[in-house]
Symmetry: C2
Subunit: 497 residues, 2 copies
């Protein structure tokens, strides 16, 4: 027999007591003790804590509770103190239904001062799970999700601009969404809430602009899903949008991004607590939310960043675990490597911070976003910048209508364009007169750099001669827009000035 010999001196077996204390399979193979799985027990422990907190309440928790447990700014309905709510008493037409949403709330915050003729407004659109709290305010001093980008002298300079950021329709931070009470029933909408589109989100924002008397935006700015909204704003209301900033977004969700979001929705909807979306009088699907967030987190950074940041480092052992310094460690089935601990922590810290149904609805809206002409034509929406007959005449097969799309001399057509590019260019033609900044990141695996090029190419092919295009290197992946003030902020500052 030639099995490799043991090199090291026989490793000390854990004592029976230590074995029970150690997590999973640290026990010797023949140990009668069942292994422990702290990473799994955490779900049950969380459930028990929630159950106890639930039982201590005098009445069933309100939808707001679901969102109010995390670090996002607290919202105390119906009298928010840290943000504004505009209640729109008229119906909101919906992209996928002939029946409109009867009325809606939209939560928003502002920074800077509105100029007398209201021409210095920047509408800032959020990513999937962000609230309107993009930066700190007198009413809420907590840092916002874009704290370093908004303020006096910052890339979006509030000495010049009046910035408005809303919580999107479908969200859970003050705007109407699945956790809101439906007037007709007096209960949360849950999954009876209609599926909303990126265009519906933007139309709700424009209802707010109407309310504020803002006729035309200086710029529509967004990153990630916010970039989708930014493009959608230009498409719906070309005369009302002065400039567009699209950072790490897309004009047509790719199947690989859909796949990652589908995986998240699947684990969430499989949580028994989800209960087909009707969990508002019980416990939320916290385990599904944690697992979904773990998957999402994988798409937000990049392999090279994790190589640099975590490599193959092991998680530090707590003092309670027996492990003499310098001695080899026996692996466990729960997290061993730092990258695992990181994902576990990201999931844990998010799982009670956001409404599960909002995650499902908004991620679905992202999946459905598609600005190709053939896709837009099937929807209950239209651009106010193109006469309907022009769109109607362009219907049958957009790839057979090369005369509808051109390309500027300074930017020749791309090499090996995707086959749908002419269709996308035709769909994006309403944006042809709006100067647009398109910025992407080469290490982004969710909104790939190919998709950024696609947005710029489609705009240019659709006749837009004012497309600024930047690609950033670095290892921060999709999260670059949250981190890289120097480069992302610099491009925005230059483009807005």
């Amino acid at each position: 027999m030639s099995l490799a010999r043991l090199k090291l001196p026989a490793r000390r077996l854990p004592t029976r007591a230590a074995c029970v204390r150690l997590s999973s399979t640290a026990c010797p193979p023949s140990s009668p003790n069942r292994p422990l799985f702290p990473c799994v027990d955490a779900h049950a422990a969380r459930e028990s804590r929630l159950m106890a907190s639930f039982a201590a309440q005098s009445s069933p928790h309100t939808p707001g509770d679901v969102c109010d447990t995390g670090p996002e700014p607290p919202y105390a309905r119906p009298n928010p103190t840290s943000y504004h709510i505009y209640h729109h008493r008229h119906p909101l037409p919906l992209t996928y239904y002939s029946t409109p949403l009867p009325s809606f709330d939209i939560a928003y915050e502002t920074w800077g001062t509105l100029s007398p003729n209201k021409d210095n407004v920047i509408l800032l659109h959020t990513g999937l799970s962000a609230s309107s709290h993009a930066a700190s305010t007198p009413a809420n001093s907590a840092p916002g999700w874009w704290e370093n980008f908004i303020g006096p002298g910052k890339p979006i300079d509030t000495n010049t601009f009046f910035v408005i950021c809303t919580n999107v329709i479908g969200g859970c931070y003050g705007s109407t969404g699945p956790s809101s009470i439906e007037d007709a029933t007096g209960k949360p909408w849950a999954t009876r809430f209609p599926i909303v589109s990126i265009f519906d989100m933007v139309n709700a924002q424009f209802a707010l602009l109407d309310h504020l008397g803002v006729q035309k935006l200086y710029a529509s700015v967004g990153c990630s899903m916010g970039a989708m909204q930014s493009l959608a704003a230009g498409w719906l209301h070309p005369q009302r949008v002065g400039k567009i900033v699209s950072i790490s977004g897309t004009a047509r969700s790719s199947p690989s991004a859909v796949a990652m979001r589908f995986a998240q929705r699947s684990v969430l909807m499989a949580d028994p607590n989800w209960n087909n979306g009707f969990y508002y009088d019980g416990l939320p699907p916290h385990t599904g939310m944690k697992l979904a967030r773990q998957i999402a987190t994988i798409t937000y950074r990049s392999g090279p960043e994790w190589d640099q940041r975590f490599g193959r480092q092991l998680r530090p052992l707590p003092d309670t675990e027996e492990h003499p310094p310098g001695s080899p460690r026996t692996p466990v089935l729960c997290p061993d490597l730092l990258i695992e601990t990181y994902l576990d922590h990201q999931g844990e810290s998010f799982c009670l911070k956001y409404d599960a149904n909002s995650l499902i609805y908004i991620s679905k809206a992202m999946d459905l976003f598609d600005m190709t002409l053939s896709a837009l034509e099937s929807l209950n929406i239209q651009s106010s910048g193109v006469h309907p007959s022009a769109l109607d005449s362009a219907s049958s097969d957009p790839t057979q209508q090369p005369h509808r799309t051109s390309h500027s001399k300074s930017h020749p057509p791309p090499v090996n364009p995707p086959p749908y590019l002419p269709d996308l260019a035709a769909g994006m033609q309403p944006l042809k007169n709006i100067p647009t900044l398109v910025l992407g990141v080469q290490s982004d695996i969710l909104f790939t750099v190919e998709q950024q090029r696609e947005v710029a190419d489609a705009l240019r092919m659709g006749g837009n001669e004012n497309v600024s295009y930047y690609e950033l290197g670095g290892v921060w992946g999709h999260d670059t827009f949250l981190i890289d003030v120097l480069n992302v902020g610099g491009a925005i500052r230059g483009f807005l000035s």
Copy 2:
């Protein structure tokens, strides 16, 4: 109010009856009906089917049942008819424990004819979830997982070679794993099974080779996790391996690949049926397995392939759903796009085919694989090709020992190598005299092309002057090794001849 006007004529609302039949949120917003979620109901339906089948059995199901439900070859313990089992009566030393596995079974199949002096043997290593059934045999005519690569005149030509493929230790297709009965207790090991390493898997295979009287392999061949084993075989037994083929593998699992496998293990272990691994006398964690497979499937192909194959096509509607041809469709929260249906189907078809604990243990073994010298030194294993004292003297800081690694003139050191490359080269020095084929795929997101270059660079830096390196284009991603007979097969054929 300037909300975009409706362009299309008002869409017909589904009738109440149709609304109930349609899946999720197809109902008008104010409908009192609760939406249906066929994609979620599928889990409960599967649970009911399993429960009924379980109740119909006269005794609790055996571990084999868990693995025998899918298309893999049926295994009828203890008398397999379609594969061989070698029972090793001696202990198997384990990488992470001083206590060995007392004894073990290893299932295997063969193709071709063993030459009189037993010098034409190719040991084929499998990926994570594959059985020993790499190609059809007289005993099992079902196509194997590498059917087009093995046979007379095929890339691994059985007119010349005698091919052996095993089910790995830790697996569930005949070899000893968590679902096997532990002699000491008479019950399945479950998660009391020790964590095994890639090296342990290979040592078990070499015990089989000893049993068969094979002193030296013509070649050790593997793809994906099989490539890890192939490299490990060369490291453990350099004198017994003539050539190495490493396709789409790695010598050091990257944090991004660990992250994807961690996400799979997490959803699986969160399934209440998993029960800390002790589910063999109950129902298996089929929902967790389905969700895990959905995530895994995302890593097996590539975004460009999905763009070409699915794009943004919608799933076909079954005849039972009301939808007039040509009319716009209302989206649902369950799968809408073909990419979602594809992932759903991949998960569904796998969830009862493989043992959940085997998936956890083997994916963990992949995560733990690391051939850097500093990592190898902490393990209970050693290469039979290097004197222990040589390894011992190279311990403290491998990056401070440039004299231990060189680089051939024909292959200068890489530009911008990862910082751990000298450590990896030092660890892989035992392979320096084994001609090695390293082949990778540029669209592979699980075992990236950078990792393939790393393997080749480390081998060359460690003194190996016979490294053949190929990179393939194409859109098939990690699965290329299962599909591309022309290019993958061609490289193997050329290298083996």
